[in-house]
């Protein structure tokens, strides 16, 4: 193998598994350390710059960081990254004086944003400090998009939502709310310098089975129903409710039903429990609220009595695999299952819908009705029109929408300055030694052996009776401190300088997880096998040094490194050093 190029900004970034997995590349270990030090406001701002909505995401994020967390590979569970983000939001002080200043003199460019969800608001956040004039169009009378309409208040309280939306709305946005854009052509003709579409994936589906027409009144589209609850147009549901679907919307629907009068709420899933799309913790929360989830139940028909919906019939299936390994759901031949109900909520997927974009404007769409985009710049085939969030690449999550927003804002900024939008600025990185003394580092390397701390919940009897009462109480300061101490500080990198190494083996002998080997060089596959502990996780890189005096190389398996710094502490020549790698994605302000 060739020596590793640690100057490649992606090399050490990849070692910080959580940050690498985060669509917005939030510097996770950095803010966790700040929480350890009770510097909540600083921790909040690290988040705010990366992901814009720390308080919201600290409650609602899909947490791609957590399955990636290295802690999950050396023990059972990852660090509770998401809920620590909430801690930063819960305990911070006033941040208003830390927000970017908005120039009074504008730069003369005028941008239209359509849909006031996370993607558009991120674009606004990035462009307003640069002097852009922003007009934000929203069909509802309030901003937030899916964060307001699809996430129930018992998971995301109104004041948390409004606080973070207002940081951006108060930067001087021209708000045009309660105003649904009906024609893209009209908007384009208004000569905006760029238009950003962040309208989400607004189209829910209803399951049209026999009996549908007669029962229609009581069959609801999950996301529409949730929006009606959020805007207080709906405040009750029948006593017996069936929720169809196994995603997060289904979990929100069933838990909301339970709070609006649903006494017997059942979630019915076509496939197996383990194939459910909902996040495990949301499934867990639904189960904790005594909501049964039945799997391998394929809905067959709506059952009516006197023209009124009284139940649904399901066929029981089991999982089989065909010869090609494709998963099939095969009827078991058992009696059909009948579940009585008064209402059915369909949470069986969302789709994009752009009936308001005329097809002759030069904005092209693919066969799934998604705009054809450059996935790096989010520019459509019409050079002035950009997309982001669910409306760009189909339904995903908030943090992905934020990431799109940052990238689109950068593109718009480059575009408005007549520069090539493909030429993106480099990420902002730094690599700084953390050495303070012979055995002292400016980070806490004595990590905790504790297992993951659970977030305390409010009393179930109370939360089930109050749709606005937040279920999760969040970590208190002590719990938060204990949880932060589980973080392995994967951004504190082990940097090896081969010229200094005397091959004494001190690092090899001390390493708790057998990461380091001195051996003859070989190709990667061979080398992975030749290590002290074979490196079987191919997603994790091997750090290879140049040739050493004994003609061996140092090869370090990054997979299970605890970043404890003991290699560097034992190294007599400082060939190993612990250096903090900070990585920030380039944003419009950096262009």
């Amino acid at each position: 193998m060739k020596p590793t190029d640690i100057n490649d900004p992606n090399y050490f970034h990849k070692v910080v598994d959580c940050q690498w997995a985060c669509p917005a590349h939030t510097p996770v270990p950095e803010y966790i350390r700040l929480i350890t030090e009770k510097r909540y406001t600083d921790a909040y701002m690290v988040n705010w710059h990366s992901n814009v909505f720390p308080g919201i995401l600290g409650r609602t994020c899909d947490r791609p960081c957590e399955p990636a967390c290295r802690r999950g590979r050396v023990e059972e569970e990852p660090v509770a990254i998401c809920r620590l983000k909430r801690v930063a939001a819960d305990y911070k002080s006033d941040i208003k004086d830390r927000l970017p200043s908005i120039p009074k003199k504008k730069n003369g460019k005028h941008i239209a944003l359509i849909g006031a969800g996370p993607a558009s608001l991120t674009v606004a956040r990035d462009l307003l400090p640069l002097g852009y004039k922003i007009t934000l169009f929203e069909k509802d009378h309030l901003s937030g998009g899916a964060m307001r309409t699809q996430i129930p208040r018992f998971r995301l309280p109104m004041e948390v939502l409004d606080e973070e939306l207002n940081y951006i709305l108060n930067m001087g946005i021209d708000k045009v709310f309660n105003n649904e854009i009906k024609s893209m052509e009209e908007l384009i003709n208004q000569n905006y310098d760029a238009i950003f579409v962040g309208t989400g994936a607004p189209l829910g589906k209803r399951l049209e089975l026999p009996g549908f027409e007669e029962a229609k009144e009581n069959i609801h589209i999950g996301i529409e129903w949730l929006a009606n609850v959020a805007f207080e147009h709906t405040d009750s549901i029948g006593k017996r409710v069936i929720v169809l679907g196994g995603g997060n919307t289904a979990m929100d629907c069933c838990r909301t039903s339970k709070r609006l009068g649903g006494e017997h709420v059942t979630v019915a899933v076509r496939s197996g429990f383990d194939e459910m799309k909902a996040s495990p913790w949301e499934i867990e929360d639904a189960i904790n609220e005594d909501i049964p989830i039945v799997n391998f139940h394929v809905p067959k028909r709506y059952i009516l009595k006197d023209s009124k919906l009284v139940g649904m019939e399901f066929e029981k299936v089991r999982k089989e695999f065909d010869k090609k390994g494709k998963r099939l759901l095969v009827p078991t031949g058992e009696e059909p299952v009948i579940i009585p109900c008064d209402d059915v909520l369909c949470a069986i997927g969302q789709e994009n819908s752009f009936p308001w974009i005329e097809r002759d404007l030069g904005i092209e769409f693919d066969q799934w009705e998604l705009p054809i985009l450059d996935k790096k710049t989010f520019q459509s085939t019409h050079k002035k029109v950009f997309f982001g969030g669910d409306s760009a690449l189909g339904p995903d999550n908030i943090i992905t929408a934020v990431a799109h927003g940052h990238d689109a804002a950068l593109s718009i900024h480059l575009f408005c300055n007549d520069t090539d939008i493909e030429e993106r600025p480099s990420p902002l990185t730094s690599l700084q030694s953390q050495k303070m003394g012979i055995h002292q580092w400016s980070y806490e390397n004595d990590i905790s052996n504790d297992v993951r701390y659970a977030v305390p919940h409010a009393d179930k009897a109370k939360t089930l009776n109050d749709i606005n009462l937040e279920v999760e109480l969040g970590f208190d300061e002590d719990l938060a401190f204990n949880e932060t101490m589980r973080c392995l500080n994967c951004d504190i990198q082990t940097v090896f300088t081969d010229k200094l190494c005397i091959e004494c083996d001190a690092c090899v002998d001390i390493c708790p997880t057998d990461c380091i080997t001195f051996t003859a060089n070989a190709d990667e596959n061979q080398l992975r096998n030749n290590l002290l502990a074979p490196a079987t996780n191919n997603e994790q890189d091997i750090y290879v040094s140049g040739i050493l005096p004994t003609e061996r190389i140092m090869a370090k398996n990054e997979d299970l490194c605890l970043h404890c710094g003991l290699c560097a502490e034992r190294c007599p020549t400082s060939a190993w050093d612990m250096r903090k790698y900070l990585y920030n994605t380039p944003k419009a302000a950096n262009a």
Binding site: R73, V74, E75, H439, Q440, N445, D446, I447, N449, I502, E503, C504, D505, A506, V508, D509, I510, P512, T513, D514, A533, P534, T536, P549, T550, L560, L562, C564, L566, E569, R570, C571, P572, T573
Partner: protein, 351 residues
Amino acid sequence: MSYIKKPKFQHPDLQVNDIGLTRRDYEGTLTTLCGGCGHDSISAAIIQAAADMSLAPHKVAKISGIGCSSKIPSYFLSKSHGFNSVHGRMPSVATGANIANKDLHYVGVSGDGDSASIGLGQFCHIVRRRINMLYIVANNGTYGLTKGQLSATADLGSKTKSGEESLYDNIDMATLAIELGATFVARSFSGDKQQLIPLIQAGLTHKGFAFIDVVSPCVTFNNTEQSSHGYKNTWETYVSLSKVDFVPMKEEITTSYDPGHGKTITLHDGSVIHLHKTGLNYDPSDKNNALKHINQHKDNGEIATGLLYINQSASDLHEIQATVDKPFNLLNNHDLCPGNEVLAGINQQFR
């Protein structure tokens, strides 16, 4: 030393040995020696050797004298018996322990000061008495604990960090051991675990006095360009007389070796040492040949390493003394005072 404990998290695929332990279970406390000390690599090699052999920790006794070297029993096999004795007197304690309980594996760890200076007399006598043990000298050619004076194993002309030059020829612990009757003598280098680990395993299995002289650089006081015991010089000058493999008895039954590729030595318990040819065609069973080779390499400015000498026919102390099969510490009153009838029997022999 370090302010933190070694994290308990370990590699999830770490091998579990025959008695259900991983290598981490054979560790001791975190070392307090200087970072880069060769002695830590010796500890690591002992840990690996013991884990690979599935040694039951309670069947091992670690004994040491005084010095940096003699601190290391703290850093391995924390579940084993240990005795940190007086300077240069490890052999006496080891002898006593071995006489009291011959059923344990004895690992003596000493240094060049402890064994070649203050304890040289003790060393000579334990070799001569052939105690069944593994005696390791962590040899760095300097008195590290007293801040870097030349020791008796420093080679002629070798210089310490402060510039002090050795004016005398060195005491070669390996040739001394061979001459005094040790039945297993090896030399190795702390930096070369591939060689050191099988030697430790073979030494622990060998019945009789096994001695390994390990060049173990003092990174703080004796690691200069002019020091013959530093890392750089040792890497450059050490010559492996044969590549050593140790195969424990249980595995040997299923392992096949091409006899054309080297020499096979079967130890008393059925375990095997494989010596792969290196081109030197070295025969470790010939005492005079061993001494000749060691001296020849020394004259060439090289350090001869590997298994230097082995003799499996000589008896150990218990055999020479014809002691009873049962370890002394298990003998009870009846064993020691078998009663009038037995006494009468003995007396009868002399009538």
